[in-house]
């Protein structure tokens, strides 16, 4: 039996050796994606303590632009390393980045042909901006990036309007539009249009295969030093940054921490400076004085929690000639559902005060006073009465309404539906979900709750995507438009004939056609007229309720007391002004 003794020793020895090898291999310093530049500025300046800021995010970003996968952090990292032509600040003002100034009609940068409505925009680029390898940033880079995006068939409203983008000289290019493009300023900037380096990226690979989207060349304040997938990304100063002595902070670290309570613990310990999108209960703690933390919030309430009622029978995809939903096709029912929801309690008690009631798409500037639409009342009795009027009443005492002369269902059918949310938001939305379901149950509307991943809720029809396939009754999630112009958003979500398929309520009929006609009117430069049209649309939407707006959910950020200058924008990209951040001990 001696052999087994040896065998065992061998096994133990082997295991220990394996351990050692593994630990040595995985302990060995990972090769940096790009070597930090050798000529650190510290060489000339007096030796100061290296400043470092840590940002906690839950998910590994996919790459340095937001056109592919949408974890929400692609733009955050691209802002650290790349500049755009023009951007929006936290006040909603446009400012040039690579450009010398914003072209306007006044300064001659925007010229409109009165006859054909064609518009030409001319951009001049700064001549003092260099890539980190020393090459100059030129109009070629802008056009190269634009061509790549076009080749990748990425849709944008600017893209639809664009006839051509033409290089005039190295630092000037001209954009020709078929018609006035309301988003022309952020056509090459804003949320997700970082300019890539033509000489560095391999155009033949196509936009999605670019290695430069994983290891981009920097024109911005920082450059990527290390990226350990699912663990962290380290950024160090770009020594070639044009706006010296910015950036003030030597090193930015994005640490990927999936668990919410762990992130909170890390912030409490002072081991991180930014907690991206904290849950409401944590935001409340960050907000309080004396915890070593503070918070920041996006200035405009972009994300509106909404209820999407399906007006067509389950399984009917948008655009087809279809059967009305037995319960929800009746707009009185939709109004009753809204009346039964106690929005104030949801905001104050469940969302801990982080939110404002919203009842129209046109609730924030430039629109005034939600186009004069009064706030709907919370009135459960009124809701029950309205349902009764619509032919839904509980006569057998089982707590669930039956159809008694209702519009679209069979006599005696039960008022029972599925009510769905998405999982990623977290517990707060789950509580609101249950709370609303209970309020509806009190007026005899029975709902069966379900929670699915966003990947399923918003998938393509062929993949069993629940919303696009029309396979739902009532869904609740947050969306909204960035910036100040909801035109494209309206076109997507309310245009009944749109092939974007995002008319989720499957809303059709005379009023839907009226809204579509009004949306078509919006493509003009007459701002006053547009405001009128917007408010006309608002009135129809209020009457019809193809979507029920509830409240704005805030884009929040937990911050450490020491970090200064963090000013979130309406686009939620915290890092847009990272070069201005400082640390105060």
């Amino acid at each position: 039996m001696n052999y087994s003794n040896k065998w065992l020793k061998g096994l133990v020895f082997g295991l220990i050796t394996l351990m050692l090898i593994i630990s040595v291999v995985s302990c060995a310093p990972k090769p940096a994606a790009e070597e930090p530049a050798a000529e650190e500025p510290a060489a000339e300046e007096p030796m100061a303590e290296k400043t470092s800021v840590t940002i906690l995010i839950p998910d590994n970003p996919a790459e340095f632009h937001g056109y592919g996968a949408g974890t929400g952090f692609e733009e955050v990292i691209s802002e650290l390393v790349m500049l755009s032509v023009a951007e929006v600040d936290d006040q909603g003002n446009y400012f040039p980045e690579l450009a010398t100034e914003i072209p306007t009609v006044e300064n001659g940068g925007v010229v409109m042909d009165e006859e054909t409505w064609e518009v030409t925009v001319t951009w001049n680029l700064r001549q003092d901006i260099y890539w980190e390898d020393g090459e100059q940033v030129t109009a070629d880079d802008v056009i190269f990036t634009w061509d790549a995006v076009q080749a990748a068939e990425i849709w944008s409203s600017s893209g639809d309007a664009t006839e051509s983008v033409v290089k005039i000289d190295d630092f000037t290019f001209q954009v020709n539009y078929y018609y006035p493009n309301p988003e022309y300023i952020i056509h090459f900037g804003g949320e997700d249009f970082p300019i890539f380096a033509e000489h560095y990226c391999d155009a033949d690979q196509g936009y999605y295969e670019w290695n430069c989207t994983r290891e981009p060349l920097s024109s911005g304040p920082y450059t990527l030093a290390e990226w350990v997938t699912d663990d962290h990304l380290t950024f160090v100063r770009n020594p070639n940054y044009y706006d010296a002595p910015k950036p003030y902070i030597d090193e930015i670290i994005l640490r990927i921490v999936p668990d919410e309570s762990v992130k909170r613990a890390i912030m409490d310990e002072g081991d991180a400076d930014v907690h991206y999108w904290p849950a409401e209960n944590n935001a409340l703690v960050y907000q309080e004085e004396g915890n070593g933390t503070k918070w920041a919030v996006s200035p405009t309430e972009r994300w509106i929690m909404k209820i999407f009622p399906n007006t067509k029978a389950r399984g009917d995809t948008p655009g087809e000639e279809t059967i009305p939903h037995p319960i929800l096709a009746d707009k009185s029912v939709r109004h009753a559902l809204r009346m039964a929801i106690d929005v104030d309690t949801i905001i104050n008690d469940i969302f801990l005060g982080f939110g404002e009631p919203v009842w129209s798409e046109f609730f924030r500037p430039p629109f005034e006073d939600s186009c004069g639409i009064p706030r709907p009342e919370y009135d459960p009795e009124g809701a029950a009465a309205l349902l009764k009027e619509a032919g839904w009443e509980d006569t057998d005492g089982d707590g669930v309404n039956e159809c008694h002369g209702c519009l679209n269902a069979e006599e005696g059918d039960l008022m029972t539906m599925e009510f769905m949310i998405y999982a990623e938001y977290g517990e707060t939305l789950e509580l609101a979900h249950q709370f609303i379901a209970e309020a509806w149950a009190n007026i005899g509307v029975q709902t069966e709750l379900s929670i699915v991943e966003g990947a399923v809720l918003w998938a393509q029809v062929e993949d069993g995507g629940i919303e696009l396939a029309g396979n739902f009754d009532i869904n609740m999630w947050d969306n909204g438009y960035a910036g100040v112009d909801p035109t494209a958003y309206l076109w997507d979500y309310y245009y009944y004939a749109s092939d974007s398929e995002w008319n989720l309520a499957n809303w059709t009929g005379e009023e839907a056609e009226a809204v579509a006609a009004l949306v078509d009117e919006l493509y003009t430069v007459d701002e006053e007229y547009r405001m009128e049209v917007f408010c006309d649309i608002a009135l129809i939407l209020e009457e019809e309720l193809p979507a029920i707006e509830l409240f704005s959910t805030l884009e929040m950020f937990g911050l450490s007391d020491r970090i200064q200058g963090v000013r979130p924008t309406a686009f939620d990209i915290l890092t847009w002004n990272v070069a201005d951040w400082t640390v105060e001990e």
């Binding site: 919410e260 909170r264 409490d268 008690d349 517990e427 509580l431 249950q434 929670i451 069993g464 629940i466």
Partner: protein
């Protein structure tokens, strides 16, 4: 739990001694009573079952919110405190016990429902049927368990299947049960393989007894002990795994409480409102520990060698 289910066969020899069931049972009970852990476990378990059974006696509703009383610390009024919608946590914990234990029992039912027939057929008939069934079992065991459960949970909860639709208890039980039956199948097969060749079975066959009769009357009772032990332990695993899947977001749908989803919801509030996590955690802990002790006691009690030693054979 990272440990997977281990087979009973590995830890104890399968009995091949036939005794009249009455004597076996009473002796087993005697032995079981003498196992202190098992007795304590049984008492705790009975208590847990009672809390679940009498949960409706609570003055509070497990689902109805009381938003003004959210996140109350434990008090006389709410011994376990309240949750994010002001619901009494004790009531929810006891109702959660119903759900978690129901899921556990359903998993065991699925396990036995597939495992016993498959094991029986394989063990009794042998030959090519056995061969095919064993390959299926091997293939099932080749699936990385937790990964497969995650995939299945993700599919089943959106699938429009008649049984699982709108029944998250059934969904989760299917997910947990679909990989656990091979253990029981192998167990039953092993018992049958040894017994099949015994004289009295051969005699029964010679006398013209039907296969079904032999299986039900002569063979199955002999596999009873190990199956019972395996089922008890399986119940514990199912409750544990339900909570694990809930943590990953694939558990029972709210507002129905289960220990798993309560624990999962508590996670965001761990620092501020620790009681949210403590009570469901303790319930899971107590249930699993008593189930394991009971299983241990049963294993001892039903061990034929020890029983035989007892009666001096």
């Amino acid at each position: 739990m990272i440990t997977n289910e281990k087979t009973f066969e590995q830890s104890g020899e399968i009995n091949n001694i036939i005794r009249p069931p009455e004597t076996m049972m009473s002796l087993a009970w005697k032995r079981f009573r003498r196992h202190p852990g098992a007795m304590v476990g049984a008492i705790v378990m009975i208590f847990m079952i009672l809390t679940a059974v009498f949960a409706p006696l609570s003055p509070y509703d497990p689902v109805k919110s009381d938003i003004k009383n959210r996140f109350q610390a434990p008090s006389w009024e709410h011994p376990f405190g309240t949750d994010g919608l002001g619901r009494d946590l004790m009531t929810r914990t006891f109702y959660g016990g119903r759900v978690s234990m129901t899921v556990g029992i359903m998993v065991v039912a699925i396990t036995l429902g597939i495992g016993i027939p498959v094991g029986t057929i394989a063990g009794y008939y042998g030959g090519w049927i056995d061969n095919i069934l064993m390959r299926i079992i091997d293939a099932t065991l080749a699936l990385p368990a937790l990964l497969f459960m995650i995939l299945l949970a993700a599919i089943l909860r959106e699938a429009d299947l008649p049984i699982v639709e709108s029944n998250s208890k059934m969904t989760i039980a299917l997910v947990l049960g679909v990989l656990s039956w091979p253990t029981v199948a192998r167990l039953v097969r092993a018992v049958f393989l040894t017994l099949r060749e015994m004289d009295y079975i051969q005699a029964a066959q010679a006398l013209g007894a039907s296969d079904l009769r032999i299986i039900l009357r002569e063979l199955l009772p002999n596999g009873f002990g190990p199956i019972i032990v395996q089922s008890t332990l399986g119940l514990g695993y199912a409750i544990m795994e339900e909570s694990g899947l809930s943590f990953l977001g694939f558990g029972i749908m709210p507002p129905t409480p289960s220990w798993g989803n309560m624990l999962n919801n508590a996670q965001e509030h761990l620092i501020q409102y620790p009681w949210l996590a403590i009570f469901p955690g303790i319930m899971i802990f107590l249930t699993i520990i008593s189930v394991n002790y009971i299983g241990d006691g049963l294993r001892d009690a039903l061990d034929p060698y020890k029983v035989l030693a007892e009666i001096g054979e």
